[in-house]
């Protein structure tokens, strides 16, 4: 087909920064990877079993556009129980195909041509393209290592213009592992309250918060009407392939998102929805077990990088560490490509998550301790040559 027939909006979007790297990696053998963005656990069996049972009972038809009522009820109970945010399951919750769909829907439901969307970076790869596809203008806020990649009130304020429509708040953060503590959020709330700016709070890693509880910005009463919470099952319950997420927020926004969802998607997969009910009802112990397991591996990886002389702040969320590799004199891309060629270890260049990720690499600890130790050993051999 002729290239010019494609929408210029789409052709104008650069391919994912991870793509090129992915192509190199897939051709190599015996690679130890720290590059994966999903849990190393299987979905707990009782959850899978519930999905199987729903199939056996022939529950294979469309559900309501918003998702099964029973599931939406469980979602509201969960958000109340875990994060002290109350929603009406009938009008304020939408079950989506992964939290990724939620990002797209929220942006499409909010953006008028030329509206600006504030996007703290480094962050997940879809915010910018989804903003552009929805006709918006991404405004990147580069968060800093010295602030442990938290968004500060000053950085936020400096980027607000009359055109600002929304802020994406991606914490706990992929790729940095940064979280926003209560006191950090309080300052953000001070800036945003009573302004016509919506917060799209991507909390997909909320359950993977270490040494404290995740705080949602929606739990601040002054922000409740201004915030849409995006969450899901992928990270908390190791359910990435089920594609299950949800959005919860003010009625008008959820209604608008539901409108797009009902035409574009119809409904989230029914099997996954039944499994999701089981996860929310009986999955707390699994989440606890996985969190505790990640926590030990997190410390191991952070210590490993520090021992080899690299600066590495302590990430308190998600399952990534984000060590600084500037000391080696290499760029993120060079570091990762050479590390792969010389030691067969795959990590992701920080620049895949925004220009300000330069000088960092993302390493996931969703791997066995044995795997992590071998990777650390190899990286140490590599780093030694440069520092």
């Amino acid at each position: 087909m002729k290239e010019h027939l494609l929408a210029s909006k789409v052709t104008g979007i650069p391919p994912s920064g991870i793509r090129k790297f992915f192509d190199i990696v897939t051709e190599m053998k015996d690679v130890i990877s720290l590059g994966v963005g999903e849990p190393d656990f299987d979905t707990p069996w009782h959850i899978r079993e519930e999905g199987i049972y729903s199939l056996e009972k022939g529950k294979t038809i469309y559900t309501s556009n918003s998702g099964l009522m029973e599931l939406r009820q469980e979602i509201t109970l969960y958000l109340e129980r875990r994060y002290k945010i109350g929603y009406d399951p009938k009008t304020q919750v939408l079950v989506t195909v992964g939290a990724s769909e939620g990002i797209d829907l929220a942006l499409r439901a909010l953006i008028n041509p030329g509206d600006e969307i504030l996007i703290p970076e480094p962050s997940y790869v879809s915010y910018k393209p989804c903003t552009v596809l929805a006709g918006g203008v991404p405004v990147v806020i580069a968060t800093k290592a010295e602030n442990e990649f938290r968004l500060t009130a000053e950085e936020l304020e400096a980027n607000i213009t009359p055109k600002t429509k929304a802020l994406i708040l991606p914490y706990p953060n992929n790729p940095t592992g940064a979280i926003m503590r209560k006191e950090d959020l309080e300052k953000i709330v001070e800036v945003l309250k009573n302004k016509d700016i919506i917060v799209i709070s991507d909390e997909i890693y909320a359950e993977l918060t270490y040494g404290g509880e995740h705080i949602s910005i929606a739990s601040f009463p002054e922000m409740y009407e201004q915030t849409v919470v995006l969450n899901g099952f992928s990270k908390a319950y190791a359910m990435t392939g089920w594609r299950m997420g949800y959005a919860a927020g003010p009625q008008a926004l959820i209604a608008a998102m539901t409108k797009i969802h009902q035409y574009a998607i119809m409904c989230a997969p029914s099997t996954s929805q039944y499994a999701g009910i089981q996860a929310l009802r009986h999955g707390d112990e699994d989440v606890q077990m996985m969190r505790s397991s990640y926590d030990g591996r997190r410390r191991l990886l952070v210590q490993g990088f520090r021992d080899m002389g690299l600066d590495c702040f302590e990430p308190l969320g998600a399952f990534y560490v984000f060590p600084c590799i500037q000391k080696t004199g290499l760029s993120s891309n060079e570091f990762c490509e050479r590390l792969l060629q010389e030691q067969k270890v795959a990590a992701v260049p920080g620049t895949a998550f925004g220009d300000c990720g330069e000088g960092f690499i993302r390493c996931s600890y969703a791997y066995s301790v044995e795997n992590l130790k071998e990777a650390l050993h190899r990286i140490e051999q590599f780093v030694k040559k440069y520092i």
């Binding site: 992915f22 590059g35 410390r299 301790v369």
Partner: protein, 160 residues
Amino acid sequence: MRQKLLEILEKDSRLSVEDLATMLGVQKEDVQREIETLEAEQIICGYHTLINWDQTDKESVTALIEVKVTPQRGEGFDKIAHRIYNFSEVKAVYLMSGGFDLTVIVEGKTMKEVALFVAHKLAPLDTVLSTATHFVLKKYKEYGIIFEKGQKDERMIVCP
């Protein structure tokens, strides 16, 4: 720390004290001391290797034996359990609720050897009323580990 340390060790007892200390966010010396205490208190009772013997040439059979006994005055089931668990063929003994009293797990080289053990050693014990021997045909899962080949990481090597 105790609970978490035990949870980690239960899954992998080969981790070094250094790694355990890092994973728990405590000092190496504290981990060392805690492990020694746990051993002294016999909360940690041993460090074993889980082997799928079916994958080797070694001949062995496992049997689960249901045993009904008469509890003894003043001793309950403990005395008879003691007489049973001291046999080296016996790998585990549990006191049960329900239709019988003791579960005895016995290992031997052949079915005949196990049968002879039951006939000559176990059944004749004074307080043993009856036994029912069930041989294990295949072990699918042991101590939380699935004995199935080909469980490998199928995740993409790099993804956002």
